[in-house]
Symmetry: C2
């Protein structure tokens, strides 16, 4: 089982992912928000690569029940119903909704990896669930860190390293690329207090300056969710084995 | 004194470097070979971004005394006088010569950073000399790792981390980006035996398979050279303060 980590989305082009298994990580905050939204009963998330496309598809393509959310450079975009704080995506707000979602780094990374045969979203919040699913799949896979403005991001890399370490607890035949080995080493060097590590990264400091300490606290929590967001038909949904959870139950009630 | 590390050349475009101080690192093997060639009396190295351009400029633009060297995917290029092994660049072969130099990753990274106000080349072989020079300059600077086919390279990153640690011994006011902090942490995790670390990287393994164990041994040696290659007028030369060494003495003898 070969594992490679791509530290930023500029390293590989879209076709690189064709047929591969891929995990996208954007700890601060897109992956954490996606996990929160689906956990809280959102029907689906539609990740988009540009604000213009977000506005275009929000016009009804996904039925009446849509919300539009996201950020540009940590700030909510004018006209969007929601920002990119996982704390905004509560059950009251998101249940049964389709959410059109744009963020500076995270959704671009997801859209880039769209040709993957299996594409999953990982945050500290659902790391064990993703590890178990990948160990079960037993495929080689790529971890695409969303990074920051095409540059390296410490928090995504450390989350990648921790994900690999979680899989190592289940599988023993892992073959790690240089970047995967580096991620594991960094998660051991910096990962003891995830909250402290997040607060000291470049992105963490920017979020603190903008008043998002509660988001950092939330994003640092390990395994508060058992769901694995999965990209299929251009939207992110719960994996079929997660399918008996909140979302489908609510759909059944709604129907 | 702010320090940032770019793990691969795709992260920044050429103009990003305008006016900056930049260090390029390609441990296996371009930076090590450049240091060896200048140490052994080469007049200058002309780094080029394509094989075609190497052939074109070798036609006499730099006077009669030229050699053409380099590699593509670790192998010497047909028609080139030299490969990319630092052991080939002996005094007998290179003294007083201009060397047109093309390599898969290293020279491309140098050419990319050509608009830097100061552009220096670092390997384990000359790491303390480069650290001293940067501490003396006291500018913010970028470390451009050559990487490997636009992806992360463990050995370049660890050399970057070690360079930063060397500077930390002289200067106390360093401000490190996430990637710079990660480089320092990795150099502490993996850098105890540089030879062992190099042998276990993806690139190191490929070189071993191709019979270049002696190159890896050579590239792992710390501080066997005191020279700092400096990019000026499209060529790499010794820094002026290194100028009283072998090269100029030889030039004087030649004149």
């Amino acid at each position: 089982m070969k594992i490679n980590v791509l530290f930023t989305p500029v390293i590989a082009d879209d076709l690189y992912f064709t047929g591969k298994t891929t995990v996208v990580i954007d700890v601060l905050r897109a992956s954490s928000t996606i996990v929160a939204a689906l956990q809280n009963g959102a029907k689906e998330i539609v990740p988009v690569g540009t604000v213009e496309f977000a506005v275009k598809v929000s016009g009804g393509m996904f039925g009446g029940q849509t919300l539009i959310g996201g950020e540009r450079n940590t700030k909510k975009i004018e006209g969007f119903a929601l920002g990119n704080s996982p704390l905004e995506y509560t059950e009251d707000v998101v249940a049964r909704k389709s959410i059109i979602f744009y963020t500076t780094n995270g959704t671009k990374a997801i859209v880039k990896a769209k040709f993957s045969a299996g594409l999953f979203i990982c945050a500290f919040n659902n790391i064990s669930a993703v590890a178990k699913h990948l160990a079960m799949l037993d495929n080689d896979f790529e971890i695409q860190c969303a990074g920051r403005s095409n540059n390296f991001s410490m928090e995504d890399t450390i989350c990648a390293g921790k994900l690999i370490s979680e899989i190592e607890k289940i599988k023993t035949d892992l073959s790690l690329s240089d970047s995967a080995k580096a991620s594991v080493a960094l998660s051991k060097s910096f990962g003891r207090s995830i909250y402290k590590m997040l607060s000291e990264t470049e992105h963490g400091k920017q979020l603190l300056e903008n008043g998002f300490d509660d988001d950092i606290k939330f994003c640092s929590k390990l395994n508060i969710s058992e769901i694995v967001p999965y990209f299929i038909g251009n939207v992110l949904k719960l994996l079929p084995e997660n399918g008996l959870s909140l979302t489908n139950e609510k759909d059944n009630i709604a129907n």
